[in-house]
């Protein structure tokens, strides 16, 4: 390049195609156009196809009576005469139950296994590794089918376990887990109040213990006292009111057990498989999180004279949580989404009863799938919203 060329550079004014800003505009307009054309085509095709097949549209079907029974309908009054919207609600409740219980249990089991994986005890560590490698690498659907088809279904039936006319307080058979139904008598409300009081007391206690620790440096065993309060207070109220709780056992009729509380085998199989499978992943996340905390932190904690179990709880785990929480969130989301595999063993979750049975009966695929997907997307958003809130609470505060 010569001297003159440098000094006489023209003002930077690229041609239309060379200007990144304009090019970006063109590209984006193109994307919008293509998408619009695609959506328009899909909508048009769907409309024609539905007309051709004589499919109804709109959400009017939700008020039609469903006409089929559902094996378990917790919290919701459901009968065969109920409408499709109630089917939707039953499915939603069943999905949420299995997802919430599954997340809590998987977290607990995963934490234990993850810490066991790092144990200095050789045998414990090997067992944890075996567990993780075994369950992580076998498809979840297979595990669900295994628990359902190979473990729970072959259990003996109630007829071979109980005589007709028996009162049964607890039974595990191929109809599920059945136990006596607790029936509260008048006065039991006091136990609930005691529980509430215990919870409030624990919060007060925690605040007091923290203030005292800041003031004097003395620690107070909040966890054990809290646990004692949580169990003790309701127990005292329970005995003080003269044990106002009765257990009404299930009665064995000629063919089946009547009454009692039943946890159906489909639920048990789904829950077992989801928890065991997800816990293996959570264990790896926990292990990775704990190992991500620099070894210097452990050494510094030891140098300060913090006892080994306190070292884990007060120094390592709080820092590890920052690494653990984001992938943990996606495991919770996975568990929620995977609960839709219930449809393979006919546990009446949202997918099985709504996107399955209801869709087959009404044929309104578009509306039903839209509602189902909206539920899963909302659940995903809620879960990640909650976990993001928790994550921002525990994240590193930099000054």
């Amino acid at each position: 390049m010569t001297e003159s060329a440098v000094t006489t550079l023209p003002a930077a004014r690229p041609s239309f195609w060379r200007d990144p800003a304009k090019r970006a505009l063109v590209w984006q307009a193109l994307v919008v156009l293509v998408l619009a054309a695609f959506v328009w085509m899909v909508v048009k095709n769907t409309a024609t196809n539905m007309e051709q097949r004589g499919l109804a549209s709109g959400f009017g079907f939700l008020e039609t009576s469903a006409g089929f029974g559902i094996i378990t309908t917790p919290f919701i009054d459901y009968a065969e005469t109920s409408n499709y919207f109630q089917v939707f609600l039953v499915g939603l409740v069943n999905t949420i139950i299995v997802a919430v219980v599954g997340c809590v249990l998987a977290l607990a089991l995963g934490f234990v296994i993850g810490i066991a994986r790092l144990s200095r005890n050789w045998l414990i560590q090997k067992i944890a590794t075996f567990y993780i490698e075994l369950f992580r690498n076998v498809p979840l659907l297979l595990q669900i089918l295994f628990w359902y088809g190979a473990v729970l279904k072959p259990l003996p039936g109630p007829r071979s376990l109980h005589e007709a006319g028996d009162s049964v307080f607890f039974s595990v058979n191929n109809r599920g887990v059945i136990f006596a139904e607790p029936i509260t008598q008048p006065g039991f409300n006091l136990v609930w109040y005691a529980l509430l009081a215990a919870v409030i007391l624990i919060f007060v206690l925690r605040a007091w213990a923290r203030a005292r620790q800041v003031r004097t440096g003395l620690q107070f065993p909040v966890f054990w006292t809290g646990l004692g309060l949580l169990i003790g207070l309701p127990l005292i109220a329970f005995f003080a009111t003269g044990m106002p709780l009765e257990f009404k056992p299930a009665e064995m009729s000629r063919f089946a057990l009547r009454g009692g509380v039943t946890i159906i085998p489909e639920f048990v199989a789904l829950l077992f498989a989801l928890v065991i499978y997800t816990a293996a992943f959570i264990a790896e996340i926990v292990r990775a999180g704990i190992q991500a905390v620099s070894h210097g932190q452990t050494e510094a904690a030891s140098a300060l004279g913090i006892k080994p179990n306190h070292r884990m709880r007060l120094v390592i785990v709080p820092q590890a949580m920052r690494v653990i929480v984001p992938p943990l969130t996606s495991q919770f989301l996975n568990l929620t989404k995977n609960s839709s595999l219930a449809t393979a063993i006919a546990y009446p979750d949202l997918f099985a009863v709504f996107a399955g049975t209801t869709l087959n009966q009404t044929g309104q695929a578009v509306e039903i799938m839209a509602m189902t997907l909206a539920v899963y997307l909302t659940l995903s958003l809620l879960t990640s919203g909650f976990m993001n809130w928790y994550n921002s609470r525990i994240k590193l505060v930099e000054r």
Binding site: Q28, E133, N137, V138
Partner: protein, 376 residues
């Protein structure tokens, strides 16, 4: 001390020998350090030992020692308390090929051998021409395989996809899913990090939508809704619809993995490329993606492991993959023996476990190779 107090500073005799220090090597020391270092540890060890002794011998007995290795259904019926391997040997061709016609199975075999050969060659990093082998496996191989399996060219008779099944179908779905989802995922990841707002919005919505819904729903949509979206005279093969669903689903996860890699590349690399005057696609192709993809290989392999396990879900829409075909064989009345369902499930679990664990080991190997930081 005693001698000192009597006035003398010299010991009168030998002091008693000190006990030997505790051994710090050898099996006893190892046991003490690793299993019995404290009271809690000892209790844990004993409990764990009890669990192992309770679980392992019966499992081994069931699987190997007392299992039925030969004979037919009669042998299993006579000994229903242990695994029934003849069930697998009698059916294994079906488990591998599904209902693919007997006379045409050599086609599947050829594709399978080429696939295995390709994977074998790619597994060694020092292999000459490795890049070309990879490229061959990624683009021409799937196309040729499709024509090999489906037929209709070079005088090969057509084999409808409804006759495909078993492990072969599992591989077809998983591999076409991965081959399609990798480029799509890269494009989506680039779109999500683009400076163009509409591009970013579209890609983000696409990714979050597919990540927010279960795969069962995707497959269900592929089988129920997809025909509604198409013009009335166009029909799609059920398998193809499932593969499209799986590929779109996997591409969203792949996009997030790739995005992680893109974010890990220092800004200086982008700026350096721009300073060299490279346009966007050249910058990505020559500078950013080679570095980004390399560090996310473990993530890509993990996504693939997930995809591979998830192919079992196609049984819900009625395709008979390995799990589907075993599941339906279990119900065969000729084999209605107590041990057959367990044997079938254990077999499928074993196949998936071996495949997934091998991939996981490979991913871990890459991870260790890339991990150049300090190790504890």
């Amino acid at each position: 001390m005693n001698t000192f107090s009597t006035g003398s500073i010299v010991n009168a005799g030998d002091l008693p020998d000190k006990p030997a220090p505790i051994r710090t090597d050898g099996p006893i020391a190892w046991l003490r350090d690793n299993l019995f270092s404290s009271r809690t540890n000892t209790i844990l060890t004993l409990v764990a030992l009890a669990i192992v002794l309770y679980a392992v011998p019966p499992a081994l007995n069931w699987l190997v020692v007392k299992a039925n290795w030969s004979g037919g259904a009669e042998a299993c019926r006579a000994n229903p308390g242990a695994a029934c391997w003849p069930f697998i040997t009698a059916r294994w061709e079906q488990f591998l090929y599904g209902f693919y016609p007997q006379a045409e199975r050599w086609r599947v075999n050829i594709v399978l051998y080429v696939l295995l050969g390709g994977i074998f060659l790619l597994a060694f990093e020092k292999m000459p021409l490795r890049k070309w082998v990879g490229l061959l496996m990624l683009i021409p191989f799937p196309i040729v395989s499709y024509f090999m399996l489906y037929g209709g060219v070079f005088g090969l008779p057509v084999v409808e996809t409804s006759r495909w099944g078993g492990f072969m179908l599992t591989l077809v779905i998983a591999l076409s899913g991965i081959v399609a989802s990798l480029p799509l995922g890269i494009v989506l990841a680039l779109g999500r990090r683009s400076t163009m707002p509409i591009m970013r919005l579209v890609c983000t919505l696409f990714i979050e939508f597919w990540r927010g819904i279960p795969l069962v729903a995707v497959l269900f949509m592929a089988s129920v809704m997809f025909p509604l979206f198409l013009p009335p005279d166009v029909t799609f093969d059920q398998l193809l619809r499932a593969v499209i669903g799986v590929a779109l689903f996997a591409s969203a996860y792949m996009a997030e993995v790739v995005r992680g890699g893109l974010q890990a590349i220092p800004k200086g690399q982008y700026e350096g490329a721009m300073a060299l005057g490279l346009p966007y696609w050249k910058m990505m192709r020559l500078i950013v993606l080679p570095q980004a993809l390399k560090i996310v290989i473990p993530g890509i392999v993990n996504t693939f492991i997930g995809l591979f396990k998830d192919t079992t879900l196609v049984l819900i829409i009625g395709l008979l993959d390995l799990l589907g075909i075993v599941q339906s064989s279990i119900n065969d009345p000729n084999w209605s023996i107590q041990s057959v369902p367990y044997t079938g499930y254990v077999f499928v679990a074993l196949v998936f476990w071996v495949c997934c664990y091998a991939m996981a080991l490979y991913s871990r190997h890459i991870e260790e190779k890339l991990h150049t930081g300090h190790k504890r």
